[in-house]
Symmetry: C2
Subunit: 713 residues, 2 copies
């Protein structure tokens, strides 16, 4: 349908011009009518006679409500009567409401009484929009009523929401079943309800001056939907603008940042323990093949390289200037970097917003925007671009090249990334510190990593997003190509408070983050360790082609726990068809259990593991395997690892790629077996049944978000 924007604009402008940020009921009605939002027929009656006449026309019973710009809480003021059933009752109610309102607030201006069609019965739902500090206009849906208010069973999407978004919201609440009809009640009209969500989202999106819309309750039934009460709040604030870079501009400067031919280190030093010393040493020891130009006004030579007094003297066109000087000297050096035309400044120093020096940070941002220099940091450990052998950091070099790009807002988390990656031999394409995110942030990095052929998976630790919409846009462009894992810290109220004290970031409401990150197709890691493990596992696992997961286990006990994990991770144990069941049974002892889990029993030789794994890979109806290994003398850990890796490799060579994960229960030799398997494409963990299935679950969540699994079962 066409929306009547002009009508809405007129109402909003008039209200704002009158200095009001709350619309009256008739104004709300005008706005909702303009967007085709169904509300009861109603009229403003200035006299009891008018009220009776209108009630006669729309039919009894009617509802009657006070209309006053001074009375916000109508019920509290005794200003509401429902089920008014006759002309005489309408007349009496009119008098009573006016009397109550005057008693409630003697100074209130009473514009009249709204006489309203009674809303048809149905399930009470709530539809609204809010203006989120991170994501801007957001539309909300939940069941109405006190119980859901207590249980906070509400779901959010970015506004405007598409019809598909809106339909997904109906299934996005825990009590979704109610909308489908329970205890013999008919289902609500889902199309009409979704249309209403779309309209409300569109209204909020079209008008920046609308801060909040509340349709509560909306009555939804099999016959349609109707909003019984409308509340619209306005704002006259406009958010501050920041310099925007186009996708091409981002890719151009990010390419020079991540694939530089020449870097310069401002504050390079020969003095052990100085950051400028560590950075130089890491660049050199890391084996960076491009030019490394130290800048230091007091030295001619730094670690065997010619040093320059100023960045202006550095030869050629450096791609990156790495700052290793105290905060107070950054602005003037950055000015020179800008004049020199260096596109990227990596600001390691702390002493900016994170220590309360907001003005100093604003100053460098202004300089950077003036020259178009992109800033990484400040307050970071630096960054690694492993395929370029670039370790631009004061930490230690890292050289296991691979497919994971990791970023962290915090330096401590960056160090945990480094240690974890090193001990697990995780192949990395980049590790990037974001720190204060004065300029470059997650969406710039996502845009680059999405294009970077060396990056197969992106994992990001973040405490806030500067621009939630830009992030969602970048994520949506990236997710169809590669998985994006996010660890959002500050999930809980206590956590968010700590985030506030740490970065000065506004703590986003976690429920909004959660829904919108999911809407963006991002895999949210519940904790640091999960983020690291997903990052390690996802590039290793092939993408599943369907939902049928099969457990093959030598330990019945592991089978039970693996089944628990399957359900916990939203996966589905395949219902095994009879012929396949018979085929598995042929390989396992008569007292073993086919079905799913397939329990081959504990005493079996390697040939039983091999035969059943082969069958699992061969049969096209099976899409993923979860293996449960039990350490025995008959099939020792490395024998299991070798046979599994060999069989998986053989099938991959034949073009049959299915994700295979394994839980190894046994003595310490299983640790070596897991590392062996992991390095050969099987995600394997010792002493846990949860981790391998969680990794598979993350892969499935990505495959679904990327649209690779179809609608499926």
């Amino acid at each position: 349908m066409a929306y009547d924007s002009a009508a809405v604009r007129a109402v909003l402008n008039a209200a704002l011009a009158a200095g009001r940020t709350v619309l009256t009921a008739p104004e709300g009605k005008a706005v909702t009518d303009a967007y085709g939002i169904p509300t009861p027929a109603e009229a403003l009656a200035e006299t009891a006679d008018e009220a009776v006449a209108f009630a006669d026309r729309i039919g009894f019973p009617v509802a009657m409500k006070i209309v006053s710009p001074d009375i916000l809480h109508k019920t509290e003021a005794g200003g509401v009567r429902i089920g008014v059933a006759s002309a005489a009752e309408v007349r009496a109610a009119f008098t009573a409401i006016v009397t109550n309102a005057k008693a409630y607030d003697p100074g209130s201006r009473i514009l009249g009484i709204q006489v309203q069609q009674m809303v048809p019965a149905g399930t009470e739902v709530l539809i609204g929009t809010v203006t989120d500090p991170t994501f801007g206009k957001v539309v909300a849906f939940g069941l109405g009523g006190v119980l859901v208010e207590v249980l906070k069973d509400v779901t959010f999407r970015l506004a405007p929401a598409s019809k598909d978004d809106a339909l997904s919201m109906l299934d996005g609440i825990r009590a979704a079943e109610i909308l489908r009809g329970v205890r013999g009640e008919p289902a609500v009209d889902r199309e009409a309800l979704a249309d209403l969500i779309v309209k409300v989202g569109q209204l909020a999106a079209d008008f920046p001056q609308i801060a909040e819309v509340d349709l509560n309750p909306v009555f939804a039934s099999a016959d349609g939907v109707m909003a019984a009460d409308v509340r619209i709040l306005l704002t006259d604030e406009t958010p501050a603008a920041r310099r925007q870079y186009s996708r091409d501009e981002i890719l151009t400067s990010m390419r020079r940042l991540m694939q530089p031919r020449s870097v310069t280190v401002i504050g390079a030093s020969n003095e052990q323990g100085k950051i400028g010393n560590s950075v130089m040493r890491n660049l050199i020891d890391g084996g960076f093949p491009g030019d490394i130009h130290p800048v230091n006004p007091k030295a001619d030579d730094i670690q065997g390289r010619k040093a320059y007094k100023s960045v202006m003297d550095v030869p050629g066109e450096p791609d990156v200037a790495i700052f290793a000087i105290p905060a107070k000297f950054v602005a003037s050096a950055l000015e020179e970097v800008g004049r020199k035309g260096i596109p990227n400044a990596v600001l390691i120093p702390s002493g900016f917003a994170e220590t309360g020096e907001h003005e100093l940070q604003a100053e460098i941002v202004a300089i950077a925007e003036q020259y178009g220099v992109r800033l990484l940091g400040p307050n970071i450990y630096g960054y690694y671009s492993t395929w370029q052998d670039l370790c631009a950091t004061f930490c230690t070099p890292y050289d296991v090249k691979g497919g994971v790009a990791l970023t962290s807002q915090s330096g401590g988390i960056g160090m945990a990334i480094l240690g974890f990656a090193r001990t697990t031999k995780t192949g990395v394409s980049a590790i990037v510190g974001l720190g204060n995110k004065s300029d470059l942030d997650e969406d710039d990095l996502l845009t680059w990593f999405g294009e970077d052929p060396n990056t197969k998976c992106i994992a990001m630790h973040l405490e806030d997003l500067k621009d939630g919409r830009a992030f969602v846009e970048a994520a949506r462009a990236t997710v169809p190509k590669k998985p994006v894992v996010v660890l959002k810290a500050g999930r809980t109220a206590a956590g968010a408070k700590a985030a506030g004290s740490h970065t000065g970031a506004l703590a986003g409401d976690d429920a909004v983050y959660d829904d919108i990150l999911r809407q963006a197709g991002v895999i949210r890691a519940p904790g640091l360790n999960e983020m690291l493990e997903y990052a390690r596992a996802l590039p290793v696992l092939p993408t599943p082609k369907g939902d049928n997961v099969v457990i093959i286990t030598g330990a019945g006990g592991s089978g039970v726990l693996l089944s628990d994990a399957i359900v916990d991770n939203g996966l589905r144990l395949m219902e095994i068809p009879e012929d396949l069941d018979a085929a598995f049974k042929a390989f396992i002892p008569p007292f073993g259990a086919a079905g799913n889990p397939i329990d081959i029993t504990g005493g079996e030789p390697p040939s039983t593991y091999e035969a059943t794994i082969r069958l699992g890979l061969e049969d096209p109806r099976i899409h993923a395997l979860v293996l449960g290994y039990w350490h025995t003398i008959v099939t020792p850990p490395m024998v299991f690892a070798e046979l599994t890796a060999r069989v998986v490799e053989e099938f991959r060579a034949r073009g049959i790629e299915k994700p295979v994960v394994a839980s190894l229960a046994g003595d310490v030799e299983v640790e070596e077996a897991c590392q062996y398997l992991f390095e050969r494409g099987v995600v394997a963990y010792p002493y846990t049944t949860e981790k391998p299935v969680a990794a598979l679950g993350a892969k499935y969540r990505w495959a679904r978000a990327a649209g690779l699994l179809g609608g499926g079962q």
Copy 2:
């Protein structure tokens, strides 16, 4: 109050004698009246005149319901009218209901119409009891209405439930807030509601023949409670009896099992690869100092020990007979063990109930009961009692003595326990396989480990409980002395199905397990790895003396994630008083954040960590510390580990014991630092902010269950 048991018994006996397992409404009323359960005043009217007369007496409006033993679903049959407001309406309703019922089921016997006082308005709740296959009589409480039915917001306790149990149920549902009054509604009468739960639980507990009670809905308000509808189902089944052992009998035989002076191995072998060979080798290599007597009819000597033809020939009074012979020979050997008076048989062989051989298992159970021999297994890896240097298993020896006793129903999980314990150097008092649990089970072991001075913590993997009440009783006796961790596998529907196929165990409803394990004071581990980590950490951590947790962190990013974990684990970040805040501030840079987390910032020397940790231990208002370490050159990992361990040790020597956990973010050196700390009483993990806080959370949950923390903050 006094319950009128005789009245209830008469009703139940009459119904059962008539072959009915569903009570009629008047029977239900008689039962509830006898237990003081408030229900509406009512009478059975056989004629319209009687109905009018009774309605006149109790006052209009009234509710009217059909009474027929043949009509279960009264509403469906058109047999219910509510709000019947006058004598004329009562008369009309009487005729209509009878007509409807005859139309619904022409053969139904109609005893009359129940005329009932209308129930006062209030919050709808549900109170009921079921007979759980594991726990027997269980009482349930939830909010009534369709929404909660969909959300399954119900909580369970063993019946009878105490008043405290009942009050805890009111807070045990997610929507608990509603009972306390929301949106200006008054709170319900909690005392009256809890009393009603107690009465219903007592009723179910007093009468084994009551299978199920359903009070739904009960209306609860500020003025009291009233059950609007009562449904009582009966059963005439009686559960099979098993031989019961007294606590003293259990302790006597368990002491001989776990602290034997003499063991005999039936089926001991010289042949490599045989189970009887591995068991003998492990007993000898493990260093067991008592007698080891091999039994083998075909050998004179097994591994250098004199062998006996039969267990009857073994000298002395062996405490344990370890079976390493095929299933089919177990019964006759067990008969000899019984005749010999050996109190414990450890049945390693498989081939019993787990492979469908239920009769064979029943046979050995009967023999054991006849002689009073306690059976461990069958279908197990054996057991370890490390303080006795006893490795009665075909796996590998284990010799790190310590405070954790671990048990597992599954052999695979047992092997994972062994590998995990070895690699983490976890100190263990015992590892016990339970397998088919034909006799000895978790409650026997709990009873023993509760008394065993070497055991400081008990961790159990289980798929089912043979006798849930015996387990709860044993847990309640043990928990005040030491923590009990349970990994209950088969949590989810899919998991429970796998458990069924594995052990033939009836899958318990997980919601019932969850509530009742919590009621028993048990710490439930969400997964295998958590069970193992809790088992490792709990004996290391001192018991907290209060709820005030403080985070001291060098990495602000870790502080945020640790705060998230604090909330996730039900812990409480201390509100730091002003004087304490000032005291912390004195040690940290001006841009660091005091408050909580206390962010000492990343570049600080060891002295800052030390000063703040000292203050945290010294101040008596702080009860637990969570440390976040950030790897820097200024304070390397082992320097942090050494200073932390030293300070903690110093305070412990002074008698100040507080739990201290740490998350270490850094390069691989943090792994060594964590192991160093763990061995010195600080629970420390690398690359995770969740695990250390989860361990602290488990310790707090135990301290609360053990009554060591008081009610207060």
